[in-house]
């Protein structure tokens, strides 16, 4: 759990760090969407260069991003292998029964690999440079139009913010309870499936009980501080677009035009 990079924030003061979180969130989604437009090596090269450019702008070390890919590497390799072995067409380089490595298979495999890596890089970039709470603010702000169709956006945002706030707390609590139960002779992660599932009970029950206690205390404290819910509350953190955000949007636009031009 400690090794997971995705979803962590690294404080910094770069161009990317100072962008409005809404811009970053929308740009990430947009970028991930247009990655699927790339369909030849020129367009993939362009996307790769653009990603590296964004990483440079964020001034976060590239090592962090490679680490972000690591937990997914087996899934990626598995998918790439499936592509390589099961795509038919083009020159055949090697075959064995119904397995064959073909030209199309290899290109497809390489493209899938690039797609995975770039998507992970971009989402890692988003979470590494954006504080979880401003991300939640961004989600709230972007979902605002849904209020018209009776979606309780404020409540959803509150739940999201509280959830994000308590992720580290609950992680700490998990480690603590695990250690306490280990000290009482529980072996986590050993034995057969049934034994392993049984070992989780002394961890899960205290965690749930703790969550209930935290929820109750938090609700009481919020009540005591006059929280009544609803849309009519003022905000402390107010999101504002700046010139930077415009540049980022322009960058995305230019990228799309070049990408469409390059693709076949």
């Amino acid at each position: 759990m400690d090794k997971l990079i995705l979803g962590r924030y690294i404080p910094g003061d770069s161009f990317v760090h100072r962008l409005d979180p809404r811009t970053k969130l929308m740009a990430s989604f947009y970028y991930i969407a247009i990655i699927f437009l790339a369909n030849n090596w020129q367009s993939y090269l362009l996307m790769f260069a653009a990603t590296m450019g964004m990483i440079l702008l964020s001034r976060v070390r590239i090592g962090f991003f490679l680490r972000g890919v690591r937990p997914m590497i087996w899934l990626i390799l598995f998918t790439v292998a499936l592509q390589i072995f099961f795509t038919k067409g083009g020159a055949v380089y090697w075959s064995f029964g119904w397995l064959a490595i073909t030209q199309y298979g290899l290109t497809n495999g390489a493209f899938i690999f690039m797609r995975f890596v770039l998507i992970i890089f971009v989402s890692t970039l988003l979470t590494l440079t954006t504080q979880p709470l401003s991300l939640a603010d961004a989600v709230e702000s972007l979902l605002k139009p849904l209020r018209k169709v009776k979606v309780p956006v404020t409540e959803l945002a509150l739940v999201l913010q509280i959830a994000l706030r308590f992720v580290p707390t609950l992680m700490d609590q998990t480690t603590k309870i695990m250690n306490a139960q280990r000290a009482r002779g529980v072996d986590f992660g050993t034995g057969n499936l049934f034994q392993q599932m049984k070992a989780v009970v002394p961890l899960l029950i205290p965690l749930f009980v703790d969550s209930f206690t935290i929820a109750e205390d938090l609700a009481t404290a919020m009540d005591a501080r006059g929280y009544q819910g609803g849309d009519n509350r003022t905000k402390f953190r107010i999101l504002q677009y700046h010139a930077k955000d415009l540049y980022a949007a322009l960058g995305m636009g230019v990228l799309t035009v070049v990408l469409v031009f390059l693709r076949q």
């Binding site: 400690d2 962090f64 603590k176 000290a183 009482r184 529980v186 205290p206």
Partner: protein, 288 residues
């Protein structure tokens, strides 16, 4: 069972961008049968040190020797179970480790993990519940129906039921009322005196250090900055204040008396010592 730290260092999340210091080159010995207190301000590495005492954490560098066990960076988790039984750990806010349907089952959980048959473990539970000062009636209750203080006692009983040789306590009385604190501390003292248990106590209560401990380790920024008897540690009040640590109430009071012309040698640590030294100076008769 001596516990020896030989140049132990520990880094959290070693090899990641989030690596943080835990311990820096700690060397010390916790003697068999001693009552050791570990003090230091928040974040000084006390709890990290504690988790090395039963190999929940393994040193990044150096060796921890616990009885016959040598724990280094390479030690595998496979054969540590007997060690866990010998070193009982009471974590901060230990009540959050309860999970069984009844108090009896929860207390019996530890011993059963170490191979004690269920019937014997339940008998142990009944014994331990009185040991920690709870009525036998709670045995069949759900632990979640109890008060916070009682839950803490059940958790401690659950650790004692493993019949450890070393009892490690991380602020066992935090959040308890004064009577509960007093009772708990007396119970630990009794276990130490009567059953020869080695006790390692992390605390911010300097009074407890002065009253109970016979050895004190002072931690700061992950390093062991001083160790010695409580008298040696508390003999240097300026240094302690500088390290953001306090003095026992008694010693503080004696210092103020000294400014008014009283003399103390050595500085009293407990109320009884203070009274003994004060009596002749105000012309009273020693009692008893």
């Amino acid at each position: 069972m001596d516990i020896t730290f030989d140049h132990v260092s520990f880094t959290y999340q070693a090899g990641t961008p989030f690596a943080g210091d835990g311990l820096k080159d700690v060397s010390t010995t916790i003697r068999d049968g001693s009552y050791t207190a570990i003090i230091g301000h928040t974040g000084s590495g006390k709890s990290t040190l504690l988790q090395h005492l039963n190999a929940l954490l393994k040193p990044t560098a150096g060796t921890v020797t616990i009885g016959d066990f040598k724990i280094t960076n390479e030690t595998s988790n496979k054969h540590l179970k007997p060690l866990r039984q010998k070193v009982g750990m009471v974590f901060q806010f230990a009540e959050s480790q309860l999970f069984e349907q009844t108090v009896a089952k929860d207390i019996a959980f530890g011993p059963q993990n170490f191979g004690v048959p269920e019937a014997d473990a339940l008998a142990l539970a009944a014994e331990m519940v009185t040991q920690v000062g709870l009525p036998k009636g709670v045995l069949d209750q759900s632990p979640f129906d109890l008060s916070g203080g009682q839950m803490r006692r059940v958790a401690i009983a659950g650790v004692l039921a493993m019949q450890p040789e070393v009892l490690v306590l991380d602020e066992p009385t935090a959040g308890l009322d004064p009577a509960g604190r007093q009772e708990m501390m007396t119970m630990f003292k009794r276990l130490h005196d009567e059953h020869g248990l080695t006790i390692v106590l992390v605390t911010h209560q300097m009074d407890d250090v002065a009253d109970y401990a016979d050895h004190v380790l002072v931690m700061e920024h992950g390093a062991l900055v001083r160790q010695g008897s409580p008298r040696e540690i508390f003999a240097d009040p300026d240094w302690l204040v500088q390290k953001q640590l306090g003095l026992p109430k008694t010693t503080r009071f004696a210092q103020r008396l000294r400014q008014k012309g009283f003399t103390f040698s050595p500085m009293p640590l407990t109320v009884a010592e203070l009274a003994d030294q004060l009596l002749p100076q105000i012309g009273g008769q020693p009692h008893g």
